[in-house]
Amino acid sequence: MSQNRRIGLGLVLLAGNVFAASHRNGPLLLEDQTANLNDFYIFRSYENGKSDRLVMSMSAQGFQNPDNGPSYYKFSDSVLYRFNINNQRGLDGRPDTQIDFNFTTTLQPNPTFVSYFGTIQSIDDPGIFLYQTYTVTVRNLNTGDVTTYGTDQNGHALSVAPPNLGPKSTPNYEATLGQPSVFTLANGWRVFAGPRDDAFYFDSGATFDTLNFRAPAPVLTGGADAGAGAAYPNAVDGFAGYNISLIAVELPITAVTVDGKVPTSSTASDAKIGAWASTHRQFVTVRPSPSDPLNFGDYVQIDRVGNPLTVEALIPLPMKDYWNRSAPADDRQFAQYIGAPFFVSGILQGVYSLNVPPTPRNDLLGVYVPDITRIDLSIAPVPLAQQSRLGPLGGDNAGWPFGGRRPNDDVVDIGLRALAGVLVPGFSNTPPLGDGVNGNDVPTLDHFPFHAPPHAGYLHSQANGTNGQGTPTGQ
């Protein structure tokens, strides 16, 4: 009886459109979860004894709910994750070296319905049913040299760090699973891939509520612009308590300079390099080919990220997909938007009545065209405890935008002030703009991979309105 009633209701709903049921309506996508990148970081290592090293990392799949199911946020086997380094031709946005990460998922024989079972005591624990490994391929595009690493220097597979489930399943996470997932390759480089805390911090909720900033934002005065700044509820980090998927590599500075040396002067020809991250998927031919039935081809770029906030604040919405597919070397085509951003004229001037520099903004064009994060390798790294969240604006040149970008750099506040013209002669007294959030929800590390361990699913809570802000990670 009840089934017939449901069928009857269904028929009413189908009335007029029964015919459409057989159409092969394949999905059409607007979003691409696994290939979308969030942030790119590059900085001289401030780990004790490692200052001759460069660190790069990229984050993907932002806003991971730690309690949303541990198998949901794995790296995609179909995506090539790439670091691009440009060290020649005046940093023209063309890569000279590429470092590729390719992932493979192995589903171990699984008698359960879960991807991780029991207490996971090591990165090789048999309770890890969803096991991901990766290869690292280094390409020197100028010499053609290509080297691929599938294991660490001891022959261990390069495995992705398991998720942080909680104190029962993944006790002492960082010591047992996090740090053991840092591998040293045969060439001495160190790599990591796995979930971590999202080091980006920003009052996204207030911004998306039509710039409904909470006091003391958007002009930070006194204590609001110093130290930890305002506390909740006056400053809400919309990224607090969420994880990201991080890929990180640590390599000698000598591996990325054009002459293979460590630069000692900012004016030296090898002092500055630029870098960015990108994701790619493989081209396939639609028509079957008799000679090669699969005929998978070259990789096509899906997304890229160089400087923070480029696509969010400078590239118009209809151009975003096109921008993501384009190469930094061709960024001159976006100069009209970057040199005269709507954010500056429409918001900073139009809404906040700030006196802003005239266009074209050569200061912005110098940073964002091409959109690569530049780093002056002659600038000595600053220990974590002494870093200024405002980087060069706070007297600490080892941060964004001149010294690369570190996890703790407050790129939102730096970016707002730079957009307002603080680096333009005559505009240095720009109000201290900011979103009111001055730091990450949990402390970042002073060692590789620098991002804090991932939030544990068991400990995660959105009940206090701060998405678990302050909850220690790594147990």
Binding site: R24, N65, V286, R325
Partner: protein, 397 residues
């Protein structure tokens, strides 16, 4: 100073909010909001976008977001009242701004859903003239061409889509094209890439898993097919094609009761004609004549609804009737109606089968040859072709 600035800012936002502030908010939310909402269920998305669209009826972006959620809900449920709502919203947006790109693009997808393939092809071409770099437009163009049986143009459109953005959507189409042309290994490999590529919409992943399961099932790998259908149901619970797929696997394995249970689940979600036809057969197999009769009544009710709506085509009903030797003239009428706007190999197979059942063997052979033109490894095609060939032999002088 701070208080003055905030007062000034609030006043400015109030005056500014209707236009520019929304633009920058939209730009800023691009990456982060989309990832925030990625894990929401479609019903929650509809609720959220309804609130946004209701609060800002003048904002076409919010209206388009709501329409897109209704289109997605249609995909998940096959309940076309959601599509009607989407079309209504989109027409509202376009009545205010006939060039609204977002609305035009979604409207093309609704044209495909309504089987207005020629119209969808024309709309896609118009949108390509506006934005050639948008893979969506090449996808809808390829879909329309494939349904109309213009496979060369369809392949070219799909190839452009892949070149612009290899992802779940373009891989899925490339895989389907490979299967149509008989390249099973290529179809499987590319469909696996589609699944690996993933989507924030879990229904999209489940769709690919069901496609993969069907390829396995049609090529005799029933164990792998079962795994794929089960994985689809894990990705998107209550996905009726997943239950139907499991029903087919179990029916072929002789597990009639298990097959019935899965088909009934699929039918409870959406009463597709092929589910009723399958259940009719399965209940007959168990000797439950009463339940079998109910399923046949349901098929006839679907046909009455279809007739009442003036519909002249329905491929699913063609097979439901022809397979069971009932309403054969109606089956032929529906198959011929299908050819009016859809000339793909599946439509020719439906026509061939309906002609065969109406003992018009010569015409059936001609239609069957067209169904076989690509070498599509559809077991049903082979079965129908054999039956027609046998009948031709029997009537040969």
């Amino acid at each position: 100073m701070k208080c003055c600035f905030i007062v000034l800012a609030c006043g400015a936002i109030a005056a500014f909010a209707q236009s520019s502030a929304d633009r920058i908010a939209g730009a800023l939310m691009d990456r982060s909001l989309s990832e925030h909402v990625a894990s929401l269920k479609t019903d929650d998305l509809i609720a959220m976008y309804s609130a946004m669209a209701g609060a800002r009826r003048d904002n076409p972006h919010y209206q388009a977001l709501l329409a897109s959620a209704y289109v997605q809900k249609t995909r998940e449920t096959t309940d076309y009242s959601y599509l009607d709502r989407a079309v209504s919203i989109l027409n509202g947006v376009l009545s205010a701004d006939s060039s609204n790109y977002e609305a035009l693009r979604l409207l093309t997808e609704t044209e495909l859903e309504r089987h207005l393939f020629a119209q969808a092809a024309e709309s896609s071409l118009q949108l390509i003239r506006i934005s050639e770099a948008d893979p969506w437009n090449w996808g809808t163009l390829g879909d329309a061409y494939i349904e109309m049986g213009d496979y060369e143009k369809g392949a070219s459109a799909y190839q452009k889509m892949v070149a612009l953005r290899p992802d779940l959507a373009s891989y899925n189409r490339a895989s389907h094209f490979r299967f149509l042309y008989g390249d099973v290994d290529g179809a499987v490999a590319i469909m696996q890439k589609a699944i690996q590529a993933g989507s924030p919409m879990k229904e999209n992943v489940a769709w690919c898993l069901v496609d993969l399961g069907n390829i396995y099932l049609k090529t005799g790998r029933n164990g792998l097919a079962r795994d794929a259908f089960q994985e689809a149901l894990r990705a998107f619970p209550s996905y009726h094609p997943g239950y139907a797929g499991l029903g087919r696997v179990l029916a072929e394995a002789g597990n009639t009761q298990g097959a019935i249970e899965n088909y009934r689940r699929a039918q409870q979600i959406t009463p597709m004609p092929d589910y009723a036809a399958a259940l009719f057969d399965l209940y007959n197999r168990t000797g439950d004549d009463a339940q079998a009769a109910k399923q046949m009544e349901l098929l006839e009710m679907i046909d009455r609804v279809s007739r009442a709506n003036g519909e002249q085509a329905n491929r699913n009903l063609v097979f439901a009737f022809a397979d069971h030797d009932v309403k054969l003239e109606r089956a032929l009428e529906l198959a011929q109606g299908e050819l009016e706007f859809r000339r793909d190999v599946y439509s020719y197979d439906a026509l061939a089968w309906a002609l065969y059942k109406n003992r018009r063997y010569g015409e059936a052979k001609i239609a069957m040859d067209k169904a076989l033109q690509l070498g599509t490894p559809e077991p049903q095609f082979q079965r129908h072709a054999r039956a027609i060939a046998e009948a031709m032999k029997e009537v040969a002088p």
